[in-house]
């Protein structure tokens, strides 16, 4: 879902940069207020964690493999603003080192996989608290949150490509959403498994987003 340069038009890319810049600036302020100086090493190490976790592949059908994205996990464990900050750093490094996602398109990529994915995941996970407080609820809520974060980010990606005139929306939308609905299943199951482990071993880390 990392959009390279050239696939989105200049106005869309520029709007993406402005929105991403503003949100990241706010995210820096919001996390600084909560964590102070500790923000710097902790966000840095956790961004490196997401990066490392993305290198663990798992097999999907037919010899292809997928990898974990992690935006949902970061947002669920640490809250949406810290999630945005971490995903932004991951995307910047992926762009500058692996050319995964374009430079001018970086704003749009941060918007999709950082901002949209974090907020969708966080609010679905929190919203699932309305249906009870048990362990099962948290796992299902976390899994659904991860699935929706992947699918809705891909829907946003389809809209951006369509507005740029690269692909027609009526086909881009079902294709992007369809592919990512499948990818999202892996993401959802892994996120639930991670939450399950953390609940069993360090349940205190699940309360970080409130701190």
């Amino acid at each position: 879902m990392h959009i390279p340069d050239g696939f989105i038009s200049a106005p869309v890319a520029a709007v993406g940069c402005v929105v991403a810049g503003g949100s990241v600036a706010y995210a820096v302020k919001a996390t600084k207020k909560k964590m102070g100086e500790k923000q710097i090493p902790l966000m840095g190490v956790l961004a490196a964690f997401i990066f490392a976790a993305q290198m663990l592949n798992f097999p999907i059908a037919g010899g292809t493999s997928g990898h974990f994205v992690g935006a949902a996990l970061a947002a669920i464990l640490l809250g949406p603003w810290r999630g945005i900050l971490i995903m932004t750093c991951v995307l910047v490094v992926q762009c500058l080192i692996f050319q995964d996602g374009g430079l001018f398109a970086l704003g749009v990529n941060i918007l999709n996989m950082g901002i949209i994915a974090s907020f969708v995941a966080y609010y679905i996970y929190r919203g699932s608290a309305l249906f009870g407080e048990g362990r099962k609820r948290k796992l299902i809520g976390g899994g659904l949150a991860a699935w929706f974060s992947v699918v809705i980010a891909s829907v946003a990606c389809a809209f951006e490509l369509a507005i740029s005139g690269t692909v027609p929306l009526k086909i881009a939308l079902p294709v992007m959403a369809g592919i990512h609905a499948l990818i999202g299943i892996g993401e959802g199951l892994i996120t639930a498994a991670v939450l399950n482990l953390i609940m069993a071993t360090r349940a205190d880390l699940l309360e970080l987003q409130k701190a």
């Binding site: 050239g6 600084k32 490196a48 663990l56 464990l77 932004t88 490094v93 050319q99 430079l103």
Partner: protein
């Protein structure tokens, strides 16, 4: 993990390597924006862009095979657009095929969009490869800081850069341990194992982050990482900037 996994070739020596990271970053951004803004049918401007970026890649002594291999990351997106071509709005038909019961026609308008997107994406990725293969990330971050990116982001990115190696090593060790113990099992089980690995990695990373902060406090960390190497614009940056700017502007004026 080999250190050269990240910013490979950035320790070569060439004219491009010696430029200030700020010069290179701004030049790349200008190049990419100029490519994206070039109108679809303007092939001569694209040719000029291609000449510019390939000559810079040659000056930087980057192995061509490496550059081509790296540029393949855009391929899935090109494929995605290619799939849509038959469904694009009707126009003059370039060719039509019968795939089973389905008549598919490819229009010139559709092909033009595909070619345009592919050319633009390839040009942009070449310039990004040029930037990242000739600049050490540490220097690039220092340059970005002087270009006005907030200090906090730069610091977080520098920490991330330092710990990527540690945590990727850790992840690879876990993967090796899993592979040497696991005999496959169902897909669901594999995902669960992966989830446990990622969860363990998260807990270890979080704890590592806390002990790093404690260590930083002990050593009196201010709010800056100081280093001996200072960036400075040299005459070569100015001449490169002027030459580069002239080519970009002329591509816009002559071929518009």
């Amino acid at each position: 993990m080999k250190h050269s996994f990240i910013d490979k070739y950035s320790d070569l020596d060439s004219l491009i390597h010696r430029l200030d990271p700020r010069t290179k970053f701004i030049a790349s951004l200008v190049f990419i924006i100029s490519v994206v803004l070039t109108p679809t049918s303007n092939w001569r401007a694209f040719a000029l862009h291609l000449c510019l970026v390939t000559s810079l890649l040659i000056i930087a002594k980057l192995p061509p095979f490496y550059v081509l291999k790296r540029s393949l990351v855009i391929f899935p997106f090109v494929l995605l657009v290619a799939v849509f071509i038959p469904f694009l709005k009707p126009g003059e038909i370039a060719g039509s095929y019968n795939i089973w019961l389905w008549q598919v026609s490819v229009t010139y308008a559709g092909l033009l969009i595909l070619a345009n997107v592919a050319v633009k994406a390839w040009l942009c990725i070449f310039s990004l490869i040029l930037l990242s293969a000739t600049t050490k990330l540490v220097d690039l971050l220092k340059g970005l800081k002087q270009l006005g990116i907030p200090k906090v982001i730069i610091l977080i990115l520098s920490f991330m850069y330092r710990y990527i190696f540690v945590l990727v090593d850790e992840a690879m060790r876990m993967r090796q341990a899993r592979d040497s113990r696991s005999f496959g099992g169902g897909r669901l089980r594999q995902l669960k194992t992966l989830g446990n690995m990622i969860g363990t990695l998260f807990i270890r990373s979080y704890e590592r982050g806390e002990s790093i902060y404690a260590a930083m406090l002990c050593r009196g960390f201010g709010d800056e990482i100081r280093s001996l190497r200072q960036l400075g614009f040299k005459r070569i940056d100015a001449s490169f900037g002027v030459a580069f700017g002239l080519v970009i502007i002329s591509s816009a004026i002559i071929f518009w």
